[in-house]
Symmetry: C2
Subunit: 547 residues, 2 copies
């Protein structure tokens, strides 16, 4: 599919397409490469100890990127930074002040520290044959940027705006400077746009403003003089601010509770994004946590197994026990896949006597992603010749493409997946190079890769239990074999059969002549597995040592 | 809390309240007990091999129920029948013809067969001090019944209507005879209602009719001459019928595909609920599965790991490979908790070149549960003095209670959970006896109970991997200990450390004097776990045998 004309840009999404998370894009000009973002993906199942997934980074070995540009501080954009630095230690990292602070804290937990270069809105950063300009946008975390790239020689620009919404009403930060975007882009012949697909199916065509939530939050606090727990995406600093301001207005005390909320709040205070009002913001140590007029900002809005909210809901928290009158406000929405975990939390709250308010009851959450009307503003401003839907599962990318084709028939839309390459040549033709997608890497423990095969082994153990048998070689051939047997994750019914298993082992060595230990091991394994299958209806794993 | 007055009825939901599934209720008159339904609950996580969960059945030992009444054939109402029969072998089972057939097939897989008594609409079944009348209702499976109980002496009746909707338009079966229900109930002084909470939060106040789906289904088939895959809850026989009829109308061939769809269709044909039109309904053997004008009724609408739909979507099916032009219609909705599994299927379909239609695009699915307007019809007809919200997670039971209190302030609503007992005494007072809820039993393999502790063991193995070490006792004290080491579910990084682990083991026995094997085992375990923690950041399970 390669064109004969020279490629001047190739853009390869390494993560974030066809999945929710691990956003990462490799951008190569003619002489230099850089990476935009390096996010993690959360595992589908909590059962295998996996902390997170990251894209397959082998591609970086040939590409040798010189720079890493971070658009904003969400985990699905910065979470994999330790792994990037391990792979490309000399890489130059760019981020805004708040994002830098988050990155530094993250790297500290890996005992790493790096220098981070400041990303400043509208301040151009130049490479040998291209440059880019960060343009600030609204989202659900402060200091989010779109990246406007332009070629030095060719009449080509492209704009990567992975997470955004247009919020003209928020009191907390200015909306994107659309005039500026229009001015710098419209003289280019080719204008390629990479744009967010997250909310393409949302019934909210225009994503609500953070400002729209202030009245409902105040209303809740004005009516409740008992304890009100607010759970939210803790990185949503402006939401925290709205709740803190409302708490102040109605003379409440506010307790941040849970590691994640506390960390983000601390960072926001350090950077003067939130005022450190010590008469308002309290710790559990110096507050009567059982009293009235308390607002608790609590971590764990996704029902996370180790989250503070789950602990409280399950009655396992030592500080907060749910009592009648407690109100829990979900100023958040379940990330797809977490619906059940979140509804379980709500069930537990009700069972313990609490009440729940969600976005279905009143407007207590606003997404950070664009509805169709937000997208239209972007298309009308940037006036793209080509769009590549990014940031979304495959069915969302597909729906985004359909929406563009129906609404803007002149725009060319390119549906691509991770590891496909968008190549733009000297004639400004956009060509898609289909490359085989690569499975993400599983990370467990201190940044350690767990190979797929070893995950499969975990799955096997988890789904069928196991038997350990060690046999003393010297005793084989005697009347009774000397062995030790242990089982794990198997029903009591198997324990009840230990005598029979012993008989089976002895019988095996009486009737079978040991040729090689390997062969005997395999044969005995088969017999033991068959026996268990008869008793319980499935075959456990069997490990045998001859010693 | 017990009243001094004699209890004439006690009703104990053993499952189905505060959860989705395992519906089961123990009803005791003064001398006899019976059970209504005996369903299973599906596990939250697929990782531990658990096939299903059932309520803790120990309660049946004292209650000694004589009869088991099945309201309809869904798994969350019949799935645990094998376990009931094991526990109470002499129990008399009642079910409608179609439900009986489903139960018989299920028991066959456990190599059991039983006699089932016919449950006939409006035919009263009498016990010593009470009787009940089955009243047919619409739902999402044929032959669903509500059960109308009445006391012989006291002016008391109660109506258990766990799953229902009112469907006046469906061509497939008559709606509930509301006049009849009104006539038999209104002379009783006390009228207690147990009613479905599943859809209390639905924005569809009136649940659509099965008839409403016929036009959209026909529309889809009239416009598509390629392959159309319909996935649905396979027990929804009338939905199957609508798709089969539409296929006939537009001259398609229809292939049922997947065990579950095939089984239910076979049962429906056996009972003349669906006509066996051999010119229309084909098997994969005698059909060109790659051809046009094919309708495939496919199992696995919940994204089930072993379902046909998942196999096809993942490209792992030997018969159906997705190609451009294939359309997949989801005539179903994800059960809470399955959202992600279902959206993954959609992603895979799009990635393979297929298209998807869901209920968000056009009306291709109707729930079998009541919206608020359906509930109002029920309340207006039965005119209950007391309502107990059933069939739903806690937050739904709570919302149902709130709805009744706001809409029918004269009705008394009782919020209860599993194992609470509703006691009605001679003065017709309704009292709630709070009993400790019991955790459901985990079933894996051929109906075998897996104890909670053994599930915890599985979780441990799955989340941290393991080391298995056996040590030859005779060799302890020598320069080199004779040992055998194996690991499972651990990263390659640990394999690379085998030499060091060997050194650690030898060093342990050189420096430590073995006092007792148990003590040494514990000490060595700690050292090995510590070592691994240093290398990978977590401690695997360690099993040691001295032999």
């Amino acid at each position: 599919m390669a064109s004969n004309k020279k490629t001047i840009f190739s853009i390869v999404p390494i993560g974030g397409l066809g999945q929710i998370g691990s956003n990462m894009t490799l951008i190569s000009g003619q002489t230099e490469s850089l990476i935009v973002d390096c996010g993690i993906l959360f595992p589908n199942e909590d059962s295998f100890g996996i902390n997170y997934l990251i894209p397959d980074l082998d591609i970086l070995e040939n590409a040798s990127p010189t720079d890493l540009i971070i658009t904003h501080g969400h985990e699905d954009h910065i979470g994999a930074i330790y792994h990037i630095i391990e792979k490309v230690p000399q890489i130059k990292v760019w981020a805004s002040p708040f994002t830098s602070e988050l990155i530094k804290k993250k790297l500290k937990s890996y005992k790493k520290s790096i220098k981070i270069n400041l990303l400043i809105q509208k301040k151009e950063i130049t490479f040998s044959d291209f440059s880019f300009i960060p343009i600030q946008t609204n989202h659900s975390i402060p200091e989010t940027h779109g990246l406007f790239f332009k070629s030095k020689k060719e009449s080509l620009c492209f704009f990567i705006l992975s997470d955004f919404k247009f919020d003209n009403k928020t009191p907390y930060e200015s909306p994107m400077d659309l005039n500026y975007l229009k001015n710098i882009s419209q003289n280019f012949e080719k204008r390629v746009l990479f744009s967010d697909s997250t909310n393409i199916k949302s019934k909210n065509f225009k994503t609500p403003s953070e400002a729209d939530l202030i009245a409902p939050i105040e209303d809740i606090l004005s009516k409740n003089n008992k304890r009100v727990f607010f759970t939210l995406f803790p990185s949503n600093i402006f939401r925290q601010k709205s709740i803190i301001n409302a708490s102040k207005k109605f003379k409440k005390k506010l307790i941040p509770y849970g590691k994640s909320v506390e960390n983000y709040l601390e960072t926001a205070i350090d950077l003067n994004l939130i005022e450190n009002d010590k008469s308002l913001i309290k710790s559990i140590k110096n507050t009567n946590c059982d009293g009235d007029n308390l607002v608790i900002l609590i971590s764990g809005c996704q029902g996370d197994f180790r989250g503070a909210l789950r602990r409280v809901a399950w009655g396992e928290d030592s500080t907060f026990k749910i009592k009648k009158g407690d109100l829990f406000v979900f100023s958040s929405t379940p990330i797809p896949g977490n619906e059940k975990k979140v509804s379980q939390i709500m069930n537990k709250i009700y069972e313990a006597g609490g009440e729940v308010i969600t976005n279905a009851d009143c407007l207590v959450h606003a997404s950070g992603h664009p509805g169709k009307d937000d997208l239209k503003i972007l298309y009308d401003t940037f006036n793209p010749t080509d769009v590549i839907p990014i940031h979304g599962e495959s069915y969302l990318l597909h729906a985004h493409k359909k929406f563009i084709e129906e609404t803007y028939p002149d725009i060319k839309t390119h549906l691509i997946y991770n590891f496909n390459s968008i190549n733009i040549n000297q004639s400004l033709e956009v060509k898609i190079e289909k490359n085989e997608s690569k499975e993400p890497w599983l990370i467990h423990g201190k940044g350690i890769l767990l190979e797929k095969e070893n995950l499969r082994q975990r799955r096997k153990m988890a789904s069928s239990g196991l038997l350990f048998l060690s046999i003393k070689i010297d005793s084989i051939g005697r009347k009774r074999v000397n062995y030790s047997l242990e089982h794990f994750g198997l029903p009591q019914l198997i324990k009840n059969q230990e005598e029979k298993i012993g008989w089976l082992i002895n019988n095996f060595f009486n009737k079978t002549k040991v040729k090689t230990f390997d062969k005997s091991k395999d044969e005995l394994k088969i017999e033991l597995r068959k026996f268990c299958n008869k008793v319980i209806g499935y075959k456990p794993l069997v490990f045998i040592h001859f010693i």
